[in-house]
């Protein structure tokens, strides 16, 4: 759905997505990196379990929720991607205390 602009390539940032080793680019947010990897959906909704993905990319819609380094319901569009991050799909509701 998305491809990166033909700018001079940014340095790659390695991270894991649901345990799989993948790469984003320096300057990506987590949500941007997922979109660039072709991951349109990053979570299932808390009530109906419908797949959802990043939409507003500016912290408003809460549709880009992911688990980042073990913490649930992080807004992927507001979290800068860092090397070695463990990103997981948010399955439904967050666990209380996690």
């Amino acid at each position: 759905m998305f491809r990166r602009l033909p700018d001079p390539p940014a340095p790659p940032i390695p991270f894991t997505l649901d345990g799989e080793a993948v790469q984003g680019a320096a300057g990506d947010t987590v949500a941007a990196a997922l979109l660039a990897l072709g991951r349109a959906a990053c979570r299932d909704t808390a009530v109906s379990g419908t797949p959802r993905g990043p939409y507003c990319m500016m912290g408003v819609c809460f549709d880009c929720l992911v688990v980042v380094d073990g913490v649930g319901n992080r807004q992927g569009c507001l979290v800068p991607l860092r090397p070695g991050m463990a990103v997981q799909t948010q399955r439904g509701r967050r666990e209380t205390g996690r």
Binding site: A46, V47, R93, R94, T96, G97
Partner: protein
């Protein structure tokens, strides 16, 4: 309040003739809609005259408990009335679901009050003892639990919680779904919902019944029921009644939706059916000011985290304030006018009492008089010379 969204000429009342109903309910919140649904169930053609979206709408801000354990100190009849509604709630919810398809998520598996100090626990225990020792009290089970007894229910209980109270009659519901279900049911039963109609005057008609004036035209009705919350104070004198009620602000926080962690509600904290954790139970005298304030919200959040440390990491997604409809003694007012046909219903527990309003109060109104055992709820009790 300032913003009047009503467009002149839009959605105008019929120009020819005045709509006429067996009963007109003024106020379309949970209280008004519950009574109106019950009136339709009793066979009366009924309209609801409501304000618009900017009304002070306690029904959209409440905490959604169906709560028994702390209700009635000072008026045994209120304890019995609350208990009766709680007993009716299961059938009420099932009826709404069958009729509207909306599951209001009613649960009645008991509820807790948790205390963060021995003094707090002793105060609550003493208050419940006094309540249950009142003359005319109809007993029901409740118990005081120490910390050890609470742990099986709440494995993540904070270290400061010394004990609490439990009553098996308590429960909760999704009150937004309740509000919606009541209106769907009202429409399905043939009721006429008339919004943007703040009432300016109520005049008795010589042939019986009332003419009710609104900016969008008048309606006539054989019976009129005042269920307009805080506005009842202004409306009641129009039909020779009195409703000394004032707004009392309550503030609520809700967290993001999380996996189930609370099986049963605590009076200050509950997990809604869809997973959000609601934190509330503040009370302030602030007039019609519906703003939230960090002072109260931080106290609510602090107490909640001391009770359940695991929720500290959750994000709060919304906070809001709503205005309880409070009488001088905190109990409901149900009254009927000397000239027949005008009734008053006002309370701060419209969710808990919804089942009683639908199944008990509305049939009384349809019959034309409140039952004799409703006398303790009359506004006569605020008239000192009359009481003395």
């Amino acid at each position: 309040m300032g913003l009047d969204g009503g467009a002149p000429g839009g959605d105008a009342a019929p120009m020819s003739g005045i709509s006429s109903f067996d009963a007109a309910v003024i106020g379309g919140g949970v209280v008004g809609a519950s009574v109106a649904r019950g009136l339709l169930g009793a066979g009366l053609s009924t309209c609801i005259l409501d304000e618009g979206d900017v009304a002070h709408r306690a029904s959209r801000g409440n905490f959604a408990l169906v709560w028994v354990q702390s209700k009635g100190l000072g008026m045994a009849r209120y304890g019995a009335w609350t208990r009766a509604s709680s007993d009716l709630w299961g059938a009420f919810a099932a009826g709404l679901r069958a009729e509207t398809g909306v599951d209001v998520a009613h649960q009645r598996q008991g509820g807790f009050s948790l205390c963060l100090s021995e003094e707090e626990l002793e105060k609550r225990r003493a208050s419940l003892l006094r309540m249950h020792n009142q003359p005319g009290w109809i007993p029901y089970p409740w118990e005081v639990l120490d910390r050890a007894a609470l742990l099986p229910e709440f494995p993540g209980l904070g270290p400061e919680v010394v004990g609490g109270l439990f009553c098996p009659l308590d429960g909760h519901v999704n009150s937004l779904k309740l509000f919606r279900a009541l209106h769907i049911s009202f429409a399905a039963r043939g009721g006429a919902y008339l919004p943007e109609r703040p009432v300016s005057a109520i005049t008795p008609l010589s042939a019986g019944g009332f003419r009710i004036e609104t900016p969008r035209g008048a309606v006539e009705a054989g019976k009129v029921v005042l269920a307009a919350g805080i506005a009842n104070a202004r409306l009641a004198p129009m039909v020779g009644l009195s409703a000394p009620v004032r707004p009392q602000r309550g503030q609520v926080l809700v967290t993001e939706k999380t996996a189930p962690f609370l099986r049963r509600p605590v009076v200050t904290l509950r997990q809604a059916d869809e997973g959000g954790i609601m934190i509330g139970d503040s009370a302030e005298e602030a007039g019609l000011d519906e703003r939230v304030g960090l002072g109260v919200l931080s106290v609510l959040a602090d107490r909640a985290v001391r009770m359940f440390p695991a929720i500290a990491s959750l994000n709060v997604v919304r906070s809001w304030a709503a205005l309880r409809v409070m009488s001088q003694d905190g109990f409901p007012i149900y009254d009927a006018s000397g000239a027949p046909g005008a009734f008053l219903a006002t309370c701060h527990s419209g969710v808990t009492l919804a089942a009683a309003h639908d199944a008990l109060l509305a049939p009384m109104i349809a019959r034309g008089a409140l039952d004799a055992d409703m006398a303790p709820f009359g506004a006569w009790r605020f008239d000192v010379p009359q009481v003395a």
